[in-house]
Amino acid sequence: MLEIENLHVRYGAIHALRGVSLEVRSGEIAALIGANGAGKSTLLKAVSGLIRPSEGRMRFAGTQELGRLASCELVRQGISMVPEGRAIFSNLTVIENLEVGAYLRRDSEVKKDREWIWELFPRLRDRQRQSAATLSGGEQQMLAIGRALMSRPRLLLLDEPSLGLAPLMVQTIFRTIRQINGKGASILLVEQNAHMALQVAHRGYVLQTGEMVLSGTGPELMETEQVKRFYLGEA
């Protein structure tokens, strides 16, 4: 679904990504883990067209070249992003936020998809007429994911969905990520919470100071010494 080959990104003199390769296969969840400053967000920014890579190729759905597409064009192609810090429209109600998510759609199934969002997140259904600003952090994250799903993406990019959430809420979010994947969407999950991320992921990648140091299936990665020591906090 998404193939990244030998990606280099430079911020002036700083070489933020040094030849990173990654693949999200169709129907799979890929997790990208790494510490602060490893380059996780840089990679997502490159995919979503916010920064230009200096080298490398990014391909979506086999043919579509990314990297030169504007953010708004990505949605048209079937890529939807849930940005870090959620970026919901706090002046709009929950239901209006979802409607904005279907901005580019002209088909008649928007309502059906909204029902699906209510199923995924029953708490949002209860609060649909409430202004989004009054939601808790976890509910806002749910809304951000729901809004991204309203464009019917083939690939969902999630940037740190567990950031700043209570442990119970983190579990809920990750359970839903699985459910969404079960419906057929491929997911690229960028996380610091390595434990949760590798549990749900089919494929994991570990990024360290701009280089991909490890990759493998989720369970494989959880067994390696490096991941255990640095990311899972086991001795």
Binding site: L74, V75, A87, Y103
Partner: protein
């Protein structure tokens, strides 16, 4: 066709009322009050169009007077070089003269608007990459550049200014433009795609992630805002005085317009109309205070902002009974 009449009946009625009122005012109203009314009309066009950029799309521009100047000078050049001599040569009288002058004014105003829209496009394309304070400073700079260019163009009178031959923009001309401007912007931002403008203001990044072409909509807002600023400039240049100087379009004028937008409520079109009218009338009403006039004016501004920091109208609109509103932007209390 039937739908067209249903949608535009109210607009046509308003335009007819404006035309009739203009006819009456011209004969029976004291010239002083008449001039103030015309000033209010021009201010309404300026403030509502600036609200599209600053309030509704959230792109803080401080260069509106510059685009007004482009419209004023483009229309002045047209009148001095072509329209004025041509009308003079026709030597018409009576009703015929009125109709021909009205049409000529329409053409002149559109030329002014298009010139300003072009300037808005040229300035907006690079400037809209900037955000917040930086955009404000850049547009302030562009506005001043435009003014100084006119100040140094001797063919357009330079710093001395330029006097402009008829046609004159009377009450009818100004208010027909004002009504069309308000109706156009109202319909634009309340249309389905018009949600994009509000979305960009609320969170530009979030707007982009749902597929809104943020650059396109920012440029649309900027170009349309500049177009109407140019229309207002052309009307201003052809008002009864018939004389403009570059100093009338300085940064203070831009700031004055921003004050009106903020006072009316960022994003509220009805608020902009009220603020434009109030702040144009106020200095005239306060003439009794003589030299303390501007002190009282400023104190009143401070008072309003203290009691209503969200502006007179906040983000709300005054809805006329026949307005169907498919989309209402709900503010948080």
């Amino acid at each position: 066709m039937k739908v067209f009449w249903q949608n535009n009946m109210a607009l046509l009625v308003v335009l007819l009322v404006v035309a009739a009122a203009g006819f009456g005012f011209q004969r029976h109203l004291d010239p002083y009050y008449y001039k103030i009314l015309v000033d209010v009309g021009i201010a309404i066009i300026l403030v509502v169009s600036l609200n599209l950029i600053n309030g509704i799309t959230g792109q803080f521009s401080l260069g509106h007077a510059g685009f007004m100047a482009v419209g004023a000078y483009a229309s002045a050049a047209l009148s001095v070089l072509a329209a004025g001599p041509w009308l003079n040569g026709l030597a018409l009288g009576g009703a015929q003269k009125m109709v021909v002058e009205f049409v000529a004014l329409g053409v002149i105003v559109i030329v002014g608007g298009v010139a300003a829209a072009l300037a808005g496009f040229v300035v907006g394309m690079p400037a809209l990459r900037l955000r917040g304070d930086y955009l404000a400073i850049a547009t302030l700079g562009f506005g001043e550049i435009i003014r100084i260019v006119f100040q140094n163009t001797e063919q357009l009178g330079g710093a001395r200014g330029i006097s402009i031959p008829p046609p004159r923009s009377d009450f009818t001309g100004v208010y027909v433009c004002a009504v069309l401007c308000v109706a156009f912007i109202w319909r634009l931002v309340h249309s389905v795609k018009g949600k994009s403008f509000f979305a960009i203001r609320e969170d530009e990044f979030a707007a982009a992630t749902v597929g809104i072409d943020t650059t396109k909509y920012k440029v649309i807002a900027f170009v349309l805002g500049s177009f109407f600023a140019g229309v207002a400039g052309a009307l201003f240049a052809h008002s009864a005085t018939g004389y403009i100087t570059p100093a009338q379009f300085d940064a203070v004028k831009s700031i004055e317009l921003v004050v009106m937008v903020v006072l009316g409520g960022l994003g509220s079109i009805s608020g902009s109309i009220i603020a434009a009218a109030a702040l144009t009338l106020l200095p005239e009403i306060l003439r009794g205070f003589a030299e303390y006039r501007l002190v009282v004016y400023s104190l009143l501004l401070v008072l309003v902002m203290l009691t209503r920091p969200q502006g007179l109208m906040g983000m709300k609109e005054i809805k006329l009974p026949w307005h169907r509103q498919p989309y209402q932007h709900k503010p948080v209390a």
